[in-house]
């Protein structure tokens, strides 16, 4: 015990083990991905606003938006948001199941995590395949 509790320690206090000491697990990875996709979708809200504002201001404002969306980088960004939304939605359902007490066993939490990752990729790719083939023949929004 220190004699003067408020004195600055002469050397740093020991820290408890942090992230890098643990072996990565499915549940850890899906948990932090849920948070990262959530933050990304927060930014994605700006793009929804941009879309609505562009549409509300008529064709002259909508054309640049379409051009930005059709651009390869725009398409990549949109694909990222599509996957993030699919992931956050599906993993959110997993979280809601936990909230009412289902799927807490380690093996259940693991396989449901794998299922969520797989389904989110299938959904995002599916949306883009549908957009490119069924909706149109070229890369627009």
């Amino acid at each position: 015990m220190a004699d003067i509790p408020h004195a600055r320690p002469t050397r740093p206090r020991p820290l408890s083990p942090h992230l890098q000491i643990y072996q990565w697990s499915v549940t850890m990875a899906t948990s932090i991905t849920h948070r990262i996709t959530g933050v990304a979708l927060y930014v994605g809200f700006v793009f929804i606003a941009w879309w609505l504002v562009a549409a509300s201001m008529g064709p002259e404002a909508y054309e640049p938006f379409l051009a930005a969306a059709a651009n390869p980088i725009g398409q990549l960004v949109l694909f990222g948001f599509t996957w993030a939304a699919a992931y956050h939605l599906l993993n959110g359902i997993r979280h809601l199941a936990w909230d009412v007490g289902y799927g807490f066993l380690p093996k259940d939490a693991m396989w449901s995590g794998v299922v969520v990752v797989a389904l989110s990729i299938i959904a995002a790719v599916g949306v883009f395949l549908w957009a490119y083939t069924v909706r149109m023949g070229g890369p627009v929004s």
Partner: protein
């Protein structure tokens, strides 16, 4: 414990004076966002490759305008709570934390307000 009033005890909120509103609001909005996000996804897919008139015609239908308005409001509430929990977890300096929490609300409400006004412009 004896100093606790019966009202305080029955409220069950303890010294924080507020309870699980954020927790519940996050769950309620997340449940609402399941169908709303799926609807929004299909709506965007239906408008892909279209012109601005298609977007205007789409939102001039009361159902679509109503669902879009609901989607924006629900997304706004969910986003604010979600970002607040991230700030609460990672921003430790008190002053910076208050600033980040205010910025979160200001930014999200601004984006939400702009979206709603744009939607109303399309609808009217």
């Amino acid at each position: 414990m004896k100093s606790e009033t019966p009202l305080h005890r029955v409220e069950g909120l303890g010294p924080a004076h507020s309870g699980t509103q954020h927790f519940w609001r996050e769950r309620i909005t997340s449940v609402a966002l399941i169908p709303l996000t799926v609807w929004f996804g299909f709506a965007v897919l239906a408008l892909v490759g279209g012109r601005v008139v298609d977007v205007l015609t789409f939102f001039q239908h009361p159902w679509n305008a109503g669902l879009m308005g609901l989607f924006i409001i629900t997304l706004l509430i969910h986003s604010v709570i979600g970002m607040q929990s991230v700030i609460d977890d990672y921003v430790q300096q008190p002053g910076l934390k208050v600033f980040a929490l205010l910025l979160n609300r200001g930014f999200a409400w601004l984006i939400g307000a702009i979206s709603l006004v744009a939607l109303l412009r399309i609808v009217s």
